[in-house]
Subunit: 265 residues, 4 copies
């Protein structure tokens, strides 16, 4: 029943300077609010809708930047891995290895991530029921790592749409592992713009409030100082300038959700 | 931004004595908490899964009981209507006419309910998108009645399952009409028990918390002192004894959701 | 294993002359192909998306036209009923009473339709699993009528979309009652045009072929000589001029599906 | 409009002898019917529900067996690849590289498969709309390979269930690439047995008939002489002994679907 931790940052790492500036802003606002931050960015967007979409800054460059962020701001970092062979190198710097939703059943990737000993955050596949994630977590535990986080990020609902089933949060929590709500990708409209995915940024606060009221260990929110210029997931990222008010609000719901009164019922 | 109103009662009116006892208990707990109550019960279960399922106490008997409840406990009452011809009689006593979800597109029923001048609460069909409800509300307004409430009660999600999309609440609110969240039927598993519908009572507090955090004008919760003995919707009704703690908790989330801090973001 | 029967006609009865002309064209093409025809039209569109949408010609006018069609062309007719009180009057002329999908669980309507002794064709609700329809059929049988037809017309799939699950056809057939595939409404996009429903006429032949190959007792196809001018369901009706080629093709699939070779496997 | 090709074999390669025996049986029955066969088996089940589930025979062993099958029976072979690094080795022997549905958006895997010059068969993700597959195909073409096949294998429909939307077949065909219908995995119930996936073998003929009637370039059907003993996908594999009658039936529907009469409409 500790306060929620925030996994946040721009979807893709764009440059060293952009990453440092965003981490600076996020650590400042989280310090002011007393929120634990895990800085997030991707070094590679490995499953873009279109082949022409930007891929990312690359592993080596990203690791150096992550190392600088950790040292300079003192916050842990999280990034996603896509192939088993990446895990060891990423784990030298990165504190939390994240398994993308599409890959949440790939046994080799899960085992390789688990064997690094780092925390592994697995996103629930859009095609999975929440109760199916206990099998995914069991793969990590069987590989010798019980430092697991499970992330809800929406379920397929017809075509080009996701729906967030709030019942998934307590179902995932039955595993005993911390549950993360990804408010950014839950409002994604996969493939919804023809050759890229759309998004409904306006519903990030709606779904995040709902999830925090139900009770989560962590929130995942991608943010950018100018989402319309972002190379990926722009339509569902929250403007950096809107984050302090949103976080303060979510913090109030979190405190209430974890107060003795709320847990009594 | 007024506190939520509660629409509550047993799914079906079972007898005069049972109704009076339940209304007594509900009005007492709502008075203690300062929550506005609209007492709910059905006089007829017109769309049961099976023909062998109990139907109800009948219109005339129910109206007399509703009248007694209104006089004795001073609270308004709500019940559902199924045919246009019932509306006028029901409206002589009942304050809020409710349109069942399956019937939310039946123009004659909507118009007849609207013409009584009573408040009309329309449940969103399990087969409708939230934005489609503006057309339903427009039918009522065109019939000369803008005292409309719109209720979210889950959307079809595969077979025998509903999912509650919390984005539906702000979408419905864009109509300008008060939005109700039905926490009882949202956890229904339609037809899920072969010849009757199942339910997941344990998720009523989960979905109700989420909805209140997002922001609603009213909550709809069916309750029974012994749900396992109830003639309908037992698996998703909340035991009457659990209601005070649940309501207190939801009230805290409602206050927070409607505080200046929460609406700032 | 008899050849499929065709339920066809314009969605709404527009006028006496339009109905006679369409019935003339349909009976001619069905006679040429040796296909049994049940002429279909609605006298009232009781659940339109918008209150401003046309409702229909009315019951009395329609019954006179249906009587004329029966006498003149010698074919049975089918129309949908919306309230229990309509059933007796409709049954004086109409051979098959059809229960709309939204109303497939309304016990009083089912019982009233059953008690006329006419064949009752129930459309499966968009919110129902195919195995739930055995309970619907049981309501008709309990009311003393086992002349039942069950129609598949798509299941809710996300928002504003239906999907046709071909497994539903054998599941419905397990009841022992004839199964109809409604190729017109299965391609409807409910509410998909804001204040009216859209449709994908181009997929009518696709889904109809699939259904006939799986095996059905009857096909339901709405048709109009100029669908773009039709008062309802224009986007999913098949142009009358396209019907002969479509029917010939479906007939070939039907013969194959019901040949000894095909049923052996 | 050539006759359908069959991709068939046991889900997993179990042993050299089992593979040879199954290939012998399949080539014999396909030769008798005049159906083109591409022998299928997996050397690794990389995304099993549970970590305790069997993985497979391994790449090197499998390649030797595939080579023997090709030489002995003269039929091409298909297998699935899971990591970019596997593609070159697999392509030395295997004629068709198959991309699993969960991995259909992984750019590196698609590009590596494409660069082998072999035919690449991509299974549509359960989380994708059919029109989104044009972007997937474009990734392969951009990598210099237009020998592409696209496979429909069901879309997520609520939890633990897939639905086959027959409209997907013509939508996929609009890309100009051959469309495969996977009748085995379309009847899978993902995770439906707690720690393994369930399946509904009885609907394989139903969906396969529907798909062939709509029109496909190829069918994918997994088969096993004793599915109940198979290490994976037993519940949805067709018994080998049932294949000749099923194939003969599907062949009749295929001939009709591709006859001038059927394509006229």
């Amino acid at each position: 029943d500790r306060p929620f931790v925030l996994l946040a940052g721009p979807c893709a790492m764009e440059s060293r300077d952009h990453a440092i500036e965003t981490a600076d802003a996020l650590t400042a606002m989280c310090r002011a609010l007393g929120i634990g931050l895990i800085y997030k960015s991707s070094f590679d967007k490995a499953n873009r809708t279109s082949i022409d979409a930007a891929r990312g800054i690359g592993l080596d460059t990203a690791l150096a930047v992550f190392a600088e962020i950790k040292e300079r701001f003192g916050c842990p970092v999280v990034t996603d891995v896509h192939e088993a062979t990446q895990c060891a190198a990423v784990a030298e710097v990165v504190d939390v290895l994240q398994i993308p939703a599409f890959l949440c059943r790939q046994t080799d990737l899960l085992v390789a991530a688990a064997r690094t000993g780092r925390v592994v955050n697995v996103k629930k596949g859009q095609f999975l029921a929440p109760w199916d994630m206990k099998n995914v977590a069991a793969k990590l535990v069987a590989a010798g790592n019980d430092r697991v986080m499970l992330t809800e990020r929406g379920a397929s609902f017809g075509y080009n749409t996701l729906v967030s089933d709030m019942r998934a949060l307590p179902v995932l929590a039955e595993t005993g592992f911390p549950v993360v709500f990804d408010a950014t990708h839950s409002v994604q409209q996969p493939g919804g713009q023809g050759t890229s995915s759309g998004g409904q940024r306006e519903y990030v606060p709606v779904l995040a409030r709902a999830a925090v009221a139900v009770g989560v260990a962590a929130l995942f929110i991608e943010t950018h100082e100018a989402p319309e210029r972002a190379p990926s997931d722009g339509p569902n990222m929250v403007p950096l300038a809107d984050m302090p008010a949103l976080l303060a609000q979510l913090q109030a719901f979190d405190r209430l959700a974890k107060s003795p009164a709320a847990s009594a019922a």
